[in-house]
């Protein structure tokens, strides 16, 4: 399947043609263990995922709330490493060609060396990489490497990001722009902030890139709201990870619940 991996642009065009938005679920690879994690990803794909957002676990994830951090710890405890992370992505490529993005803390890239990391990422079948703690100020160095291996370098835009910075970020970014919905860290929330809607339209006016909103998107109505605000996709993380955490003892139930929640979320992307 490796030959015809779908690009982000192709995927966003595809869902748009269907009158939908993109549903992009997240998982920490290896949470709670390699094989279960793979089954979770398969469940995402079978139940409407248009693209996948994967996280490599990190010991000190400053941009993440308790849900993702707990997932990181479960994954690390199960023996996940960077090398095994890339093996994991190869296994995903055995059953799907939808775009796969990687959310990673920069130290993992730095330790391996950017060139080696991006090479391994490309070989594994990844589409793009977002380093959570690498703002444009420090990212210049990675852009050439991403280019060399034909990977998208994805960046975040937040409510605190000025218009001037937005221009710069949009220029450096490819694939899609990750719009941070809240002032805060990752984590499920019951309400979506009003400011999220304003942010999406502000970002929209500064960039032609596809937009996907993440952080705190945890209910079907959140998905509907961000899409109607002009986003092209919605990234759902903690709400799904909570299902994993609550059902560690019963994998069957976990996968069933994940499957039906994914269908609800995907349904919410249909206008």
């Amino acid at each position: 399947m490796n030959q015809d991996i779908e690009s982000y642009q192709e995927m966003f065009d595809r869902v748009k043609d269907n009158g939908e938005g993109a549903f992009i679920p997240f998982v920490v690879v290896g949470d709670p263990d390699f094989e279960t994690s793979l089954e979770i990803v398969k469940t995402y794909v079978d139940n409407g995922a248009d693209a996948l957002e994967l996280g490599f676990p990190f010991s000190d994830p400053i941009a993440d709330g308790p849900t993702v951090q707990a997932a990181d710890i479960r994954s690390l405890n199960s023996g996940m490493t960077t090398r095994r992370g890339f093996e994991f992505i190869k296994r995903i490529r055995e059953f799907t060609n939808i775009p796969i993005g990687l959310l990673v803390y920069y130290n993992l890239i730095y330790k391996m060396g950017a060139d080696d990391f991006y090479k391994a990422a490309k070989e594994s079948g990844l589409n793009g990489i977002l380093a959570a703690d690498l703002p444009p100020e420090e990212a210049e160095i990675l852009l050439d490497t991403a280019d060399k291996y034909g990977l998208d370098q994805i960046f975040m835009a937040a409510q605190t990001t000025s218009n001037e910075r937005l221009e710069k970020i949009a220029e450096m970014c490819s694939g899609f722009l990750y719009v941070v919905a809240v002032m805060g860290v990752t984590g499920a929330r019951s309400e979506l902030a009003d400011t999220t809607v304003e942010l999406v339209s502000r970002v929209r006016s500064h960039s032609d890139l596809p937009l996907a909103v993440g952080f705190g998107i945890s209910r079907p109505e959140h998905v509907r709201n961000v899409l109607s605000a002009g986003s092209d996709g919605a990234i759902v993380a903690s709400a799904l990870l909570n299902i994993i955490e609550e059902n560690l003892e019963n994998k069957e139930v976990m996968l069933t619940k994940i499957g039906s929640f994914c269908r609800e979320l995907k349904e919410a992307t249909r206008k």
């Binding site: 990190f58 308790p66 130290n107 330790k111 420090e138 002032m183």
Partner: protein, 393 residues
């Protein structure tokens, strides 16, 4: 950002996009006020009247005789709250006030920086919340009480290893969530730009005083300056005045824990490798994948798997050298200074004393004039030292 905050290749701003505007705001406020007359007048007033500056540069005659060197101690241990930490918390606390922030947050390991922040919060009437690993809350109950007495709120952190690095993670998350109102008061020369530069600036008073005092007493610069290094603020504070004086040897002493090869160590510069932690590129203790290891030292202030980026730069350029002493050696140093001079040092500072003893034993170092930064006093360590010595208090 106006500056990239680099020391050679080290330092930088490795933080999520959300934090960048806050760091920009902080950088511009720092640059605005650091040379502001009114700000400095107020800071100098508090440093003198509240904290107790200047501190003495004390000639440790008994220890000097014993070790065969001329040893001076920079008495930061005599400051209010018992350590150099107050220099920085007064500086940043005032900055927060000038910026109009209405809430201070801080991280603390053993509690020293937490206390120094809480008292400044009380002084300047800014509500203060301190993140502290729940493991540390248990180990340092007395310090938790001290913070609470100064009206600080201690927030136990249950995530990760439940120690200092997790308290920093949690404080950063809080800051990301509450940027408008909140000032994050980092306690050492670490974190993203502008913190390493700014904390050095507020601690540089140690070096300035030392230089003036040693010139008065000796009529020349010292041969060697020694200081313990955790995050690196007391050492950077004293080093800063002497970096340009190439003839002065600068030595940083890390917490070796059970030994640098034991796997239980805080000797980040001695055995660590380059990595990005808590917002800057520096040396870190990590595994082959870049996952951060837990540090270990008998001294909570040296128990951190990272180190300030400027120290990484000074190490690589050879301007300063770094070595570690073990927990056991530090305890010997603790006893040595207590017995010879009647000065009970903090366990952190005891590492520098222990190193001075080893240093003085070398033939080529006999007779040298050495300044040791005695960064804190040992009151906080009484329970632990008694336990280590098998004494019931």
């Amino acid at each position: 950002m106006i500056s990239k905050g680099k020391f050679g290749k080290y330092g930088g701003v490795f933080v999520p996009e959300l934090l960048i505007p806050a760091l920009e705001e902080l950088e511009s406020a720092y640059l605005k006020y650091k040379d502001d007359e009114e700000f400095n007048k107020e800071l100098d007033y508090y440093l003198k009247e509240f904290a107790g500056r200047p501190t003495a540069l004390y000639f440790a005659e008994n220890l000097s005789k014993k070790l065969g060197c001329k040893i001076y101690l920079k008495r930061e241990d005599m400051l209010h709250t018992g350590a150099h930490k107050i220099n920085n918390t007064l500086g940043q606390g005032l900055l927060a006030k000038y910026m109009g922030k209405t809430r201070l947050i801080a991280e603390t390991g053993a509690g020293q920086h937490g206390i120094a922040t809480a008292v400044v919060g009380a002084l300047l009437k800014i509500p203060t919340e301190v993140y502290m690993g729940s493991e540390d809350v248990q180990r340092q109950k007395l310090n938790v009480f001290r913070m609470e007495l100064s009206d600080g709120v201690v927030l136990p952190v249950e995530s990760g290893s439940r120690t200092l690095k997790d308290a920093i993670n949690e404080a950063m998350r809080d800051w990301i969530t509450n940027l408008d109102t909140t000032y994050y008061l980092i306690g050492s020369t670490m974190g993203p730009h502008p913190y390493p530069t700014m904390v050095k600036h507020f601690q540089a008073v140690i070096g300035r005083e030392t230089k003036k005092q040693i010139m008065e007493k000796e009529g020349k610069l010292p041969d060697t300056i020694m200081a313990c290094v955790g995050g690196g603020s007391n050492s950077m504070g004293i080093f800063s005045a002497f970096v340009e004086d190439e003839e002065v040897e600068l030595i940083g002493v890390e917490g070796g824990g059970d030994g640098i090869d034991s796997g239980h160590t805080g000797a980040t510069l001695t055995i660590g490798t380059e990595g990005v932690l808590h917002g800057s590129l520096s040396y870190v203790l990590q595994n082959d994948d870049g996952q951060i290891n837990e540090a270990h030292s008998v001294s909570a202030g040296l128990d951190y798997p990272g180190v300030g980026p400027e120290h990484a730069y000074l190490k690589d350029t050879g301007r300063a050298s770094y070595d570690a002493v073990t927990d056991k050696e530090a305890l010997e140093g603790f006893k040595l200074l207590s017995e010879t001079e009647g000065i009970i040092p903090a366990l952190e500072s005891a590492h520098a004393i222990a190193y001075a003893k080893k240093y003085a034993e070398k033939e080529e170092n006999k007779g040298k004039t050495i300044v040791i930064n005695l960064s804190g006093r040992g009151d906080k360590d009484m329970d632990l030292v008694a336990k280590e010595m098998g004494v019931e208090v």
